[in-house]
Symmetry: C2
Subunit: 158 residues, 2 copies
Amino acid sequence: MEKIQEQVEVKLEQDAAALEALNLRLSWVGRRWLQHDLDAHHLTVPQYMTLRCIQDSTEGCSMSELAESSHQVSATMTGIVDRLADRGLVARTPHPRDRRTLRVVLTPAGQQLMAEIHAAKRTLTRQVLSSLLVEERQAMIQTTRRYLEMMESILCSP
Amino acid sequence: MEKIQEQVEVKLEQDAAALEALNLRLSWVGRRWLQHDLDAHHLTVPQYMTLRCIQDSTEGCSMSELAESSHQVSATMTGIVDRLADRGLVARTPHPRDRRTLRVVLTPAGQQLMAEIHAAKRTLTRQVLSSLLVEERQAMIQTTRRYLEMMESILCSP
DNA sequence: TATTGTTATACTCTATAACTATA
DNA sequence: TATAGTTATAGAGTATAACAATA
């Protein structure tokens, strides 16, 4: 009985090592792949992440919110938003109540660019998913979400 | 019948959008998480990827191989390997037959550092995997591998 | 005093173009 | 001529520390 348990442990260790190596490479290649897509629009990955964050919000984001969302210091966000603003994709608008705070919003040009990117997006995800059963798709989404939540909690805790 | 097929398509589209958003965030957070781990060893993510690539090879890598593996131009690799060599973690050794080519290898210090990082690695992957059935783990590894292969093929083709 | 955001600085990564040495 | 690698250059992202404005 103990021997079987031991074998299960060994197998788990192997699976963990295999998946860890795959995820490391997936994260790296995924970024290069995204950058490859964004090149056509002269956007960088951090710039795109920032636009997504603003897009997902209802009334724009403060600089602090953008920094927190991407796990970066606010000084870094200043530079990224500067370049997006220079291109007219976002605008810094004042906060109605707190004059220290800004609301960064998408301009019409920014909204249009995001729509173009969305339309041009490759169908890699759909290709993979369409070869799975509905239950498998759900399981994959659930597992990925769990992964992400664990990572974020570890990253935010200190 | 057509109506059911339509619903399946809609559902697939939703699943694809959900997983795409998750993967985008996972790729970003995964990198921050890795960087957070590497900070203790004063390594950057590109430096770590380079060390991994050398470690996985049997007789060291040429500069071209390192560049190709990370989908970067060789001029970029020159800088990364310069900094690793300055710290004594890798060494440029001559190729026995072709005097144009280098073999970048891990020094003993580099091997020791990689061993330390491996030992200190968080058990996030194992935590997630241990809550899955063996069949689910295998399915997850397979799906992740398929994803990666598709990405790499798209990235390399042009 | 505490918070929001920017500026100044230094370093790494990244690509392009021009270059050297070798095949 | 073609290939392997480096150098020079420019720009983007990143963190730290110091700072101004506001609460």
